[in-house]
Symmetry: C2
Subunit: 247 residues, 2 copies
DNA sequence: TTTAGTTAGCGTATTTTTTACGTTTACTTT
DNA sequence: AAAGTAAACGTAAAAAATACGCTAACTAAA
């Protein structure tokens, strides 16, 4: 089956670890994959979103295209974190059969650029996800995945953690306005640690780019919290390079 | 000229930003490129080390191969940092002509995996570099380079800085035994900052993986410094995750 | 209406780290 | 022997991080 399948480059693909934050959990968007092998065995598992690039497509644009197909959103936070180039990384016959069937190409060797992206789940249009058999799954409850996607997620999470330590990218996962407790919980689930609420709020309120709104929470059985928003312009203006180093 | 050139995959390449530290300077290994265009114009510039992968070669192994060809060393510290996938990133006719000539392929679109590596320059066998027209150049004095290699170096340096803040990888650039002043200078040139020698030594001597040797410097016109070595086993054993975050 | 439960927010105290800087020691050169 | 220089030892102050108490402010239950 030579060159009669989709108009793709069958050697280069992008995979996306799409992180979202909801109900105090860090979640990842996975695609349910269901098909029947030639042997008659029915497969029902999950995989990461991703696709082969088209013949002349920019890798970053391919990743953005994948995100938009699943969420309906443009200009989503997107960060490369690893590329996978072992010649034998696709060796499971089931995976090979599935790839050949879905691309119309005889897939051999694939080099993959992996990205992680951050989305506020409530911004997404669930119709897109439903149409593509995509579902949000708690990062701590990821099932066994196709290909090397489990490993990719672990690596993506490590890169997300490192990035979050150095830049306030967590805001990409939150709605326009949020409470300090929501921000703290976000940091706790991503960094997998426990933070003291009193020390956390003191620390982040020292920044000039966290803006307290006049609006407070409603309908909560405790003292209502103020809402805050992230002022990216102030952040970019006062962005300071961290000069410290761990030793 | 189809498939009659070198036995390579003409679509995927690796580029290496090889950092070395010498005479208190962070240096990068560049390849001098000299050839005559079909128009008769003589080109004499520099480029990063790199190569196309062979047909079934692992990307990481291709990068290691490139390093070994230039330095004679195996098992060098190697870190991926970016994957370049814009379809039009090779557009300079001179670069295209050079690629076609040196590969024996009609090169069109190239996707490149960029790595940075860290080498103690004195460990290298200069015969290898000489043979390959490679020369060490101060990172602050890099000339205009072929392709997008200038951009790749800048990005590589940023990744090196981030990595150095989080892990003591600077030791890869130093000899087996070194003084604290050498380590400090290394940090200063990579992070592009000035550190107080008294505070720097206090900080790093708190770690258990910096081992003071009995040997001291000789032939210096001031109090001789003690030599130290980096105990990787102690480091791996006591490696502690940094739980802090910048805000 | 009062009470209970819960979290937000304000706060103090202590510890740790960072930063700034002085001084003595120990070598080579003059 | 003196001078010059950097290593090493050190103190002090400031800043940041950590630990934790307590009051305020809401809803729900009694």
């Amino acid at each position: 089956m030579n060159q009669s399948g989709r108009n793709i480059n069958p050697h280069i693909s992008v995979d996306c670890v799409i992180f979202g934050f909801s109900t105090n959990q860090l979640k990842v968007l996975l695609i349910r994959r269901a098909f029947t092998e030639s042997s008659g065995k029915h497969i029902n598992d999950h995989k990461l979103p991703g696709d082969f690039i088209t013949l002349n497509e920019d890798l970053d644009l391919a990743a953005s295209r994948t995100l938009e197909e699943l969420t309906g959103l443009k200009d989503i936070y997107l960060q490369q974190f690893i590329f996978l180039g072992k010649p034998d990384r696709i060796s499971n016959p089931m995976d090979i059969e599935w790839l050949n069937a879905t691309t119309g190409h005889k897939i051999q060797r694939v080099v993959t650029a992996a990205y992680f992206s951050l989305i506020n789940i409530t911004d997404t249009n669930s119709a897109f996800a439903i149409k593509n058999n995509a579902t949000w799954i708690d990062v701590k409850q990821v099932p066994n995945l196709a290909f090397d996607h489990g490993t990719i997620i672990c690596t993506g999470l490590a890169h997300l953690q490192l990035a979050l330590r150095n830049e306030p990218i967590g805001f990409e996962l939150l709605p326009e306005k949020f409470t300090i407790r929501e921000l703290q919980t976000l940091y706790e689930v991503i960094l997998d640690c426990t933070l003291d609420n009193r020390n956390f709020r003191k620390k982040i309120l020292k920044s000039s780019y966290l803006v307290q709104l006049e609006e407070k929470q409603r309908g909560v059985a405790h003292k209502p919290a103020y809402y805050y928003s992230f002022d990216r312009k102030i952040y970019e203006k006062h962005k300071k390079e961290s000069l410290g180093f761990n030793f």
